[in-house]
Symmetry: C2
Subunit: 514 residues, 2 copies
Amino acid sequence: MNGAESLVRTLVGAGVDTCFANPGTSEMHFVAALDSVPGMRCVLCLFEGVVTGAADGYARMADKPACTLLHLGPGLGNGVANLHNARRAFSPIVNVIGDHATYHHQFDAPLTSDIEGLAQPVSRWVKTSQTAAVLGSDAVEAVTAALTPPGQVASLILPADAAWGSDGVVAELPERPERPAVTDEAIQKTAEALRSGKKAALLLTGPALREDALASAGKIAGATGAKLLCQTSNARWQRGAGRVPVERIPYPLDQALAVLEGLDYVILVGAKAPVAFFAYPGRPSRLTPEGCKILTLALPEEDSKQALDDLVDELDAGAVSPHVEEALRPEPPTGILTPESIGQSVAALMPENVIVVDEGISVGRGINPATRQAPPHDWLQLTGGSIGLGLPMAVGAAVACPDRPVLSLQADGSALYTLQALWTQAREGLNITTVIFANRAYESLRHELTNVGAQNPGRTALDMLQLDRPEIEWAKLAESLGVPATRATDAEELNRGLAMGLAQDGPYLVEAVI
Amino acid sequence: MNGAESLVRTLVGAGVDTCFANPGTSEMHFVAALDSVPGMRCVLCLFEGVVTGAADGYARMADKPACTLLHLGPGLGNGVANLHNARRAFSPIVNVIGDHATYHHQFDAPLTSDIEGLAQPVSRWVKTSQTAAVLGSDAVEAVTAALTPPGQVASLILPADAAWGSDGVVAELPERPERPAVTDEAIQKTAEALRSGKKAALLLTGPALREDALASAGKIAGATGAKLLCQTSNARWQRGAGRVPVERIPYPLDQALAVLEGLDYVILVGAKAPVAFFAYPGRPSRLTPEGCKILTLALPEEDSKQALDDLVDELDAGAVSPHVEEALRPEPPTGILTPESIGQSVAALMPENVIVVDEGISVGRGINPATRQAPPHDWLQLTGGSIGLGLPMAVGAAVACPDRPVLSLQADGSALYTLQALWTQAREGLNITTVIFANRAYESLRHELTNVGAQNPGRTALDMLQLDRPEIEWAKLAESLGVPATRATDAEELNRGLAMGLAQDGPYLVEAVI
């Protein structure tokens, strides 16, 4: 069998059965192999930022990697921004990046570039397969690297002659690598801090934000009075009625400082020490107060669920009933559209078990607190700060979970980076309801202009942050890409649009004009 | 003055007076400086691939660099694909890439990444300015690097604290670096080959494809019988009635081999030895026939215009009247839309001095030969093979040449990578007529599937190359982004749409359904 076929067979055998693809000439053997190898679902995307963002969303919901199929250096380049987000989310991804035939490189044909150099900054594992014979075993290495906790981006570069070479060999994946346990010392030190009577907070992310781990964290909080916090951005957060609530560190610097004020201990559970998203002149980069000690219960790659369970035992907190959110639905709002009424509409209408993809930025910031007591759901966030993740991530989440609805909360400026995702949503008939917050501005940057100390911004500067000339007609845009859509200019229209989208099986888009 | 202001003043002083921008928080001081420093035109783009593609188009038409304004690693990442094309076009570009404050790096905030690592594969010059004080002199280095023949991509990384630091110093550009002259030996050897009576071709690109250099090449051809060829892809090619015609090496391998067959000498004039765009199993990478000698008259960075003039003198060809194209217009076509009738329509209607941006791929391949005898014009091509350049390049060309119409010939699959460019065309009121070739497929890949030897492609493989489910409504899409548009389903409608677009001052789009 040729190399491409051995690669696809190896991937499918290793459980990598979904491929988000934007192929070109050098990937044609991989594409052809899809017909001879059963079991690989291949999802076509029109732009590589959609490919990589979808792979990220898929990994977050499937807890295993998809592969991507990308066309040489420029194809990878287009996918870099969302691979950056995936890297920050610890999402396992296997990139398959086609390249020229190995012997063709010396001729420096137009598409030749330093693919390994481009892959390095966004990958933990990079390798070029030199022959068909090693492709299968290289693919196993790639999948193993992707699955190595906490989850990594692996980039396998596939020269065309390795794909078409005839001596491909299928390889088998060894055991999936497990998360290492935390040390007893980490448990002891954490317990000691929690028993000290000083003010402490657990800072959770990753697997510690799944329902079962949260239940343990809730027992610890109940037994010790510790605060439960999560990062500003989290890959996947299970929340809503019946689950242990966690307070998110806000994005704005002053609000973040206020949440952490007065703490003596911040205990990291898969999280990083909290820092400002950006530096601002004369303001701190660290968010923890002077004198606050930072302890690590679990590193990102460690088994934080087990660590929380062990800590429950150590603290004799097994019998504690943790505080959980009570179910509470607001009435659907009426009147003009504001960030508040949008939050209320979502809280009133979101169905149980929905996957919320949150790239709401400034308008959407209030929706997360407003849905605390909504029916239980998963909340996926922008982990690396590179905007343009939302629409693609919704694709990946919907492909991973065909039986769950996806609600995509999307700022307009950010949506424009990867709007091609709408076409894939239509092509695959994905159950995604998108709400576009059409404020027609890079609104968050208006605040940032002041925050960084750029005084009295003038007309030219402000004009760089305005998206209203011309106004983008989002409903029309969605329809042109095959997604039915409507336009909401008041709360009643938003309620109606949201209900309509959520009632449908396929994609739907609501342009919320504010 | 702060660093950002010193940077903008230095750039404007060095003649870099146009900025294509997609800024974020770390670039807010640069944006604020636009109001305090006169003379910088800042063009907002909604995606960084538009930013870098526009900078490429601008450089090709203005013969000087624009700067870009990009937001950290992911912003640069989104611009990589079109920087790859720019690098292959030898377009001078100065990237200004914002970064976190230098002291903030250690905290590994979400947007932190290896920007220099990402910039390296697409830049000839990369530097991070550590303080405000050195920003001005670093900017001069960057502009000098960009202007160094044959034209280069320079990437200046701008940490936020260097932008807001208060000790900025404006620096001045020394003389623009000149192209080195070719050696006498190169002239002699070339003359010798041309006098040998053997079959020779001059292979031209870069400045050798400007009208004046072509006139000299035409004298050489007239005196010696040498063939005049140009690369498959060229940054800018001045052609049409009254100019010396040049035969382009075709993209399809067999056609390319046929054009070069029988040649004893290929003489490179700023060009590279001709190679296949992709490798195909069992087919050659080199396009020149066995035994053909490749001579270099001028390297890409050398003064090829002067070299051609010197060669005219050496060959005593000064008095030769070169063969030039005669003006000939076909009638506008009637009947169904085909690649041929589209070419005929363009040839019949394109105005004098138009800038043609060609990303026509499979449908558009015949338009270049069909417009040989059209009124004189500039023809800009996809130099690096990374699709998604056309719409952005049209933006840059129109900004560089506000008095000239731009005709953007655009394959539908390729247009989808950077369709956000349409909004900038509308916002800036640019005089661009876009024709989308809506064949709703990655048509060229269907041929490539066979070319690479992927036998009997199945349903799944072919489905990966189809863009017809759902069909993209291009006219509607353009209108949603502010560009008036029409849909043409036969030749008469295309003629009408094209005439309408060319008669308007602002942007217009015609969806040619074939």
